[in-house]
Subunit: 230 residues, 2 copies
DNA sequence: TTTCCAAAAATGTGATCACAAAATAAGAAT
DNA sequence: ATTCTTATTTTGTGATCACATTTTTGGAAA
């Protein structure tokens, strides 16, 4: 059993142990800190997070509910493996879900909010030019999230994040193999469409952005990686 | 504290207490056994299910992850209330998700599977003519599930069920107020399209089916109910 | 060296308990 | 009768323990 290293995450005062464990594990999986097939144990995580098994168990159970982990028949807890076919399904689901969420957010976005989204996009490009892959990835997620969450009655975000979580472990592999990221200019296209409040164009740009590369990672290259990583 | 009545559910041998509690509560919410705003307690459910609090807590936490329950700030556990706007978002999300899932299932459906789906549709109509609202609802979900699950690499079903769960409590109210159900013939349309393996037509039929009525319940009527039920 | 079997260790499950926070009930003051 | 305060009860949280199952280990047999 090798020592566990989880990306750090600030713990807000008053947050329960369970919520903290959930948030931290969730983030770890989302940014690809675990490889597909990795198995975790309740006691191991309890030790790593300096708590008792109880809240960890609850966090793990929640993570399975959103597809981030798998409780196998043997009672083993693992990070799910992904087949190329499943990968393709996940991407197409992202496209459908996110272009829909984007479309329904357009009418709610203020100019000020769009400015903030532009700032996030600049942060993404800065991270890419700097070669900071993990930072670019997180900023990219933030870019998308800020758009979808502008809709106050929005209900799709949790589902979208579930898909992100299922793609997370793949991103971890991609980050190891992809030497350099490229700037995705579909973001610019999306921003222009947002400014015009053009719902169709926004949906189209978001869809294309996902299709062409998941957050700076070339989609085809990842698909190829997948068939190798067995 | 009034006594809790949960729809019965068979417990397969070897199923853990936690899994059973999760499955049973989930089904109860899905078929509208709980009204929006209802609050539940860990100890109360533990007693009702004759177990200790531990597995119940895990089940409740999982249910919150999929939007079926809400842990409030005050630590109260409630069945979420739904606003008309949220309701509309959920319906439009259903349309997007399910027409996509249906489309991607078409190529995988064998004639034998389609026959089974036809049989389910007949069961729905029988239940409707018989006035068995709950049975019609469950059969209707089964109709949709059988289509989407035909795709072996499918990843959308858990998300779709999450949306169903969020709509569940509304269905409970609808069942109380709607006196009679009507047969939705969009199912026939979907079946015809399935036989022709016409993806566009299938997606269109499923979308229309959802738009016109959620499982036999008129959508507009429910929207009106919502604004009253406060 | 490989295969097989038994002992030991590790691991998930579920019950119980102490504790703190929240909700409710009860009584006093206005 | 109503409002406020205090005491009691309820409830979620997290730690701990016993148990059964699974996995791993270590050595014997082929």
């Amino acid at each position: 059993m090798k020592a566990l290293v989880l990306p750090v995450l600030e713990r807000p005062e008053g947050m329960t142990t369970h919520d903290y464990a959930f948030a931290r594990l969730r983030q770890a999986i989302m940014v690809g800190a675990f490889r597909p097939g990795t198995s975790v144990t309740i006691r191991g995580l309890a030790e790593a997070l300096e708590s008792s098994p109880t809240p960890i168990r609850e966090a793990l159970r929640q993570l399975t509910s959103i597809g981030a982990l798998d409780f196998l028949e043997n009672r083993r807890i693992v990070v799910p493996r992904i087949t190329p076919a499943r990968f393709e399904e996940l991407i197409s689901l992202r496209i459908v879900l996110e272009s829909h969420a984007a479309r329904r957010a357009v009418a709610h976005l203020s100019d000020r909010q769009i400015d903030r989204i532009v700032a996030i996009d600049e942060a993404i490009e800065a991270a890419i030019l700097d070669g900071q892959k993990a930072a670019a990835l997180i900023a990219n997620q933030e870019f998308h999230r800020q758009i979808y969450m502008a809709n106050p009655d929005q209900v799709a975000m949790p589902l979208i994040e579930s898909v992100w979580l299922q793609l997370g472990p793949i991103l971890g592999i991609a980050m190891e193999h992809v030497t350099e990221l490229y700037v995705v200019d579909r973001h610019r296209e999306a921003i222009e469409a947002l400014r015009r409040r053009d719902e169709d164009a926004v949906a189209e740009a978001i869809g294309a952005d996902i299709r062409e590369g998941i957050g700076g990672f070339d989609q085809q290259a990842i698909g190829k990686l997948l068939s190798l990583a067995r």
